[in-house]
Structures are given as C-alpha cells and as structure tokens.
C-alpha cells in the first residue's frame, strides 16, 4: 500500500532569480507528476524540512514544473542557497485548485500581490492555453517596489496578447518607475470587465486579500464570484495533521482556493 507521506524525487534543473528575495525553481520529477492549476505541493529539502508551494507553471506542461518561492522561512531560506541539480522531494498535488470550467465565457479578473503572483502565473498560463474559452483576462498586480515585481519580462509579453489587459503598480516607486504608485486597490478602478459575467481571483498576503475583497464587493462582485487563495500552515496536505483549519474546512483538503461566500461568515479569516 502506498505511503502517503513519502515524497518522490525532483531535480532542480534551473534556478531563476526573479527579485532579491524570490527565485523560481524549475523541477523535473523522477516519476510523472501532474497537477491542476491552483493545487499545491509539498517540497522537501531532504533530511531538513518541508514546505507547501503552489506551482507557478502551466499545468499542461507535464515534464517539468516551476515553483516560485520567496525566501521567507526556515526551509525557503535554505532552498534559496542550494545549487542546481540538487534533489528535492515532492508530494502531492493537494487540494482542489481553480475550477476553470466555471470561468468559461467569463471576464476573469486576476488580482495579485507580491509573491502571490506565482500561483496566478500558473492560472494565467492555463487560461492562455485555451483562451478561446474565456471572454477576457484582466490582470492587476502590485508589488512593494519596482524591483520586487515578479516575472518582469513575462508581464509585458502577456499585456500584448489579445483579450488580455494588464496593469501593474508598486507601493513605493523609484527614479526609473514610470507606472502607477499605490496599493493594488488603487488600480481596481474603471476595470474593463462586465460585472454580469465577471469572476475575480485574488492571491497575495492576507492583508492585501482582505482589502481587495472589500474593494471587489464594493465594486459589485458577488461573494461567490471572488476566488481567494488562503494561506495556512499546511503540513501534511492530506486533511490529517489539523494545522490548516478554517472554520469547518481544511485549506489543504477543501481549498486552497475558496470562494468568499464560503468564508465570509467564518471569524478571523484574515488573521
């Protein structure tokens, strides 16, 4: 019988420096490993520790997967200092991911904050792969400073695509920054979406998700049309270890993506 806690091997084929604190790891797994966009994995630094990440690559690409991670904790700080060709462990994928079929025919508004764009990149690439199914993709992305912006070369390319509308902002600009300065909520005005057929997807730090959600409600989005990626301390990924409970749900088992109507009556969801 399969041991549910046992990782398979994944080799780091490439490491891309995205920002001073964020790197993308290109992983090749020893056995086939497929995921749906929005599902997450547990990566193990062998003998050291494990942490949850949502892949940032196109789920249609089967032979490799990318994980974009910030240097934020014990495991990620070590991962940020290892060379290419190191072996990691990978378990998963876990959770439910984004229900793409519910986005068909819709205006898809994607709002990202900081490293929260990583899982959204996977979603964006999944949408692009079948762009004829969606009415349009609108991306609003904010980072702290210009150098903290993720995927600096990709974003301009995305914005030139048909049916795609992109706008970025930074909290604090610098001499070279010609774009918008302000929190991501400041670029949620005059959105080119038709509220009657729009859904929104939000991923970022809890405080950002809170204020974006409030703004979206204010704009007229219905709670069931706001998809949120919840961050909790997922350890097992299997709904067994207990850590990621929100109300009567586990983020790992029932999420990590939840619509706001599921969460809105649960106390302290933004804590």
């Amino acid at each position: 019988m399969k041991n549910i806690y046992k990782p398979i091997e994944a080799t780091i084929e490439d490491i891309i420096v995205e920002t001073p604190t964020i790197k993308t790891f290109v992983l090749k797994t020893s056995e086939s490993f497929e995921f749906k966009t929005g599902q997450f994995v547990e990566l193990t630094l062998p003998g050291i520790g494990e942490a949850p990440f949502t892949p940032s690559s196109d789920p249609n690409v089967k032979e490799k997967l990318d994980v974009t991670m910030m240097n934020a904790g014990r495991v990620t700080s070590l991962l940020h200092n290892i060379p290419k060709n190191t072996s990691l462990g990978i378990r998963g994928p876990y959770g439910k991911g984004y229900p793409l079929e519910q986005f068909e025919g819709k205006d898809v508004l994607i709002v990202g904050g900081g490293v929260g764009l990583a899982p959204l990149r996977s979603l964006i690439l999944a949408l692009f792969a079948r762009i004829d199914k969606y009415n349009k993709v609108v991306l609003r992305y904010g980072a702290r400073t210009p150098e903290d912006l993720l995927y600096k070369e990709l974003i301009p390319r995305w914005s030139r695509k048909k049916k795609v509308d992109v706008f970025t902002t930074v909290d604090v600009g610098d001499s070279s920054w010609k774009g918008n300065v302000g929190l991501v909520t400041t670029i949620l005005k005059d959105l080119p979406v038709d509220l009657k057929k729009a859904i929104s997807v939000v991923c970022g730090p809890p405080i950002m998700m809170k204020f974006v959600t409030l703004k979206l409600l204010d704009l007229g989005f219905s709670p069931k049309d706001i998809y949120l990626s919840m961050e909790k301390n997922m350890s097992c990924g299997l709904g067994k270890c207990g850590h990621c409970r929100i109300g009567s749900y586990y983020v790992c088992r029932d999420g990590p993506v939840f619509t706001y109507d599921i969460l809105k009556d649960i106390p302290d969801i933004w804590e």
Binding site: K2, N3, E9, T44, G73, G89, S235, L238
Partner: protein, 352 residues
C-alpha cells in the same frame, strides 16, 4: 451478536493461551493506595491474571496506533517501507468512551484524501476486548455526549462482569474468531444472565446520572451552537489565564490527532517523521515569514474548542469529545472542559 459466559479462572486460562501468539496489553494499578485508582496499560506476560479495570485507563487508546514521535517513511534510498513487523495485538480494558473517541482517529487516518498505511496496519492487527464501566471517575462525563458507560458497537469482544465470571458479547468477526479459538472456555449466555447485565448497567447509569445532573453540563445537541455564539465571549480569555501551553490536554486526548511532519537524516538515510502536535503550542499555526493566525493563548484555547465542537460536528456529525475527562486530570492549570462550556452557556443565555 452472540453473547457467551466465561468464568474468571477460565478467562485467565484463555488469555494465557492467547498470549502465545498475541501481544496482550491489559490494565494494571500503579499505586493501589491512591484515593482514586488510576489504571495504566502494560504488556501482560505469562500467566499473570487479568485485572478488570472499573473505568478507563490513563493512556488514550490512540497511543496504540499513532506515536508521539515515529518514522513514517524513508525516501531516496534503496529502501524498505517502514512497516511494523506486527504481532497480532489484543488490548483489554478498552472502555466505551475510548471507542467513541477512536471514531475520530479512524475518520482522520482511514478516510478522506489518503489512508495512513501504518495506522491501518496497526488497526487491522489489533483486537479490542472492551469492558463495561462498573464505576467512574470524578471527571467522567460520557453521558453528556450521549455515550453510555458500556459500549454498544466498535469492539471485537466486550466483557461485562457477572458473578464469578463475565458475559462476553461478540461485536465483530474478529471477536467471533476469538471465541472459536477458546471454545472450551465459553458457554452460551442465559437470558437471566443477560437481564442481570442490563440491571447492572442501568444501576451504573443511574449512579453516573446522580453524579452528573447536579453539574448542569452542556449537552451534545447544544454544543455547536454554543461555541459559535460564544466565539467573542471573555470565557476564552478567563480560562486561558492558567494555561501554561504544555499541550497535555491535546496529547492525552482520545480524539486529538494533530501532528507535524518533520525531516531528519540518520546514517545518510532521509527520514520523514510524524510527531504529535498541540494546538496550544505558540507555533502551531505560524507560517513562514512569521504570520500567526493563532497568536494569542486565548485564540489557541478557543481553537481547541472550535475544532472539537464545531469542525467535527460539521465534518463527522459528532463532537470530538468522548467525556473521558483525561484533559481535566492532566491540566496543571486546572482548566476543566466542562467548566469552560458551562461558562459559555451561562453567558450566551444572559446575552440572549
């Protein structure tokens, strides 16, 4: 299911026979002079006579199936999977509350996204020989959760003391197989014995009710609504004041199941470890970067109750408390789960 009768001396013979090819655990008394006797499990050897515990043991039943610290797998090595080379195990002295609480463990580790193979292996290799409670501890309050002090389901064989022996009720195929193994020791129970068992059981329930009724306990059907409505009350803060975050309440709880996966290298071999965790520990919910949704002890104490009385009622249709009272006995801060719920009940009513 079938009910048999076995004399005490014959039961001892039978158990001696079982010990030849089973690990047998049974209760013993560490300190016979204690005011209120505590039973502990130990591996029973040779021809030692069986001690019938009048109420549940100190250790939770889960400690036979998940361990405070254990290796669950090796990885990246020419490995053998870690599986216990398990002898068949028999646990005597399991009580109704243990069996009720164990439903939570089974739900967590045997159902859902994946099955914990080690847990399943241990579960399949273990036989429960439970027993009616014939007495109770001060902290016992199973009746509040609609759990009787004798098990109705979930055992393989259940013993009810009667005169110079026991009635043995079969609860599963494993139980029936045991009886077959010891055919020479058992006789079919008589109607009069079965009605005598009922009288004894009813008498104990009456005694327990007399103990519990004056306490004005919160009951099963009211508890979910109560913890939800009491979410913002000062109860959590007030009871938190004596909590020292030892995690004892979680670790000794028959239903608490939280664990952390950790990694370790031992002789160049990578190991995945599974370690019991406690939601009262400060870092329980902390994420990378330092954010912690359960920053305060008040939040963590409340989390324990929301998990037990809200989450599990929604997810399994039952609260994750079996009224065994182990958490009450273990708490150095004298936090009493009954009193926390009663305090909520008092204040929620006042508010309404």
């Amino acid at each position: 299911m079938n009910i048999y009768y076995i004399e005490t001396t014959k039961l001892d013979d039978f158990v001696s026979k079982l010990k030849k090819n089973h690990n047998v655990f049974s209760p013993y008394i560490k300190d016979p002079a204690a005011g209120e006797i505590d039973y502990f499990y130990k591996k029973s050897v040779d021809t030692e006579p069986l001690l019938f515990n009048t109420y549940r043991a100190v250790e939770p039943l889960k400690s036979f199936f998940t361990y405070p610290y254990e290796k669950v797998t090796e990885y990246f090595s020419a490995e053998k999977n870690i599986t216990d080379i398990l002898e068949k195990t028999i646990i005597f002295g399991v009580k109704s509350c243990d069996i009720a609480g164990h439903k939570i463990q089974d739900f967590v580790f045997l159902e859902g996204v994946g099955v914990d193979s080690l847990y399943r292996l241990r579960r399949e290799n273990t036989i429960f020989i439970s027993g009616d409670c014939t007495d109770f501890k001060e902290v016992c309050h199973c009746l509040a959760w609609d759990i009787l002090p004798h098990p109705l389901l979930g055992f393989d064989l259940n013993l009810s003391p009667l005169n110079e022996g026991y009635l043995a009720e079969v609860g599963s195929i494993k139980g029936e197989e045991l009886i077959q193994l010891g055919k020479e020791y058992f006789v079919q129970a008589k109607e009069i014995q079965i009605s005598a068992r009922k009288t004894k059981r009813d008498n104990l329930i009456e005694r327990l009710k007399k103990h519990l009724l004056p306490q004005g306990l919160v009951l099963k059907d009211a508890v979910q609504k109560l913890v939800r409505e009491g979410y913002n009350l000062d109860t959590w803060h007030n009871f938190m004041l004596t909590c020292v975050e030892c995690g004892g309440c979680n670790l000794i709880c028959d239903t608490c199941h939280c664990f952390l996966l950790a990694d370790k290298k031992e002789d160049q071999i990578n190991l995945k470890l599974k370690v019991w965790d406690s939601c009262l520990y400060a870092n329980y919910a902390r994420v990378a970067g330092g954010a912690n949704p359960l920053k305060t002890r008040t939040q963590r104490l409340r989390n324990r109750f929301m998990k037990k009385f809200d989450f599990f009622v929604d997810n399994l249709g039952m609260p994750a408390c079996c009224g065994c009272g182990r958490c009450i006995e273990v708490c150095p801060g004298k936090i009493d789960i009954r009193e926390v719920l009663k305090d909520l009940a008092k204040k929620v009513t006042v508010k309404a």
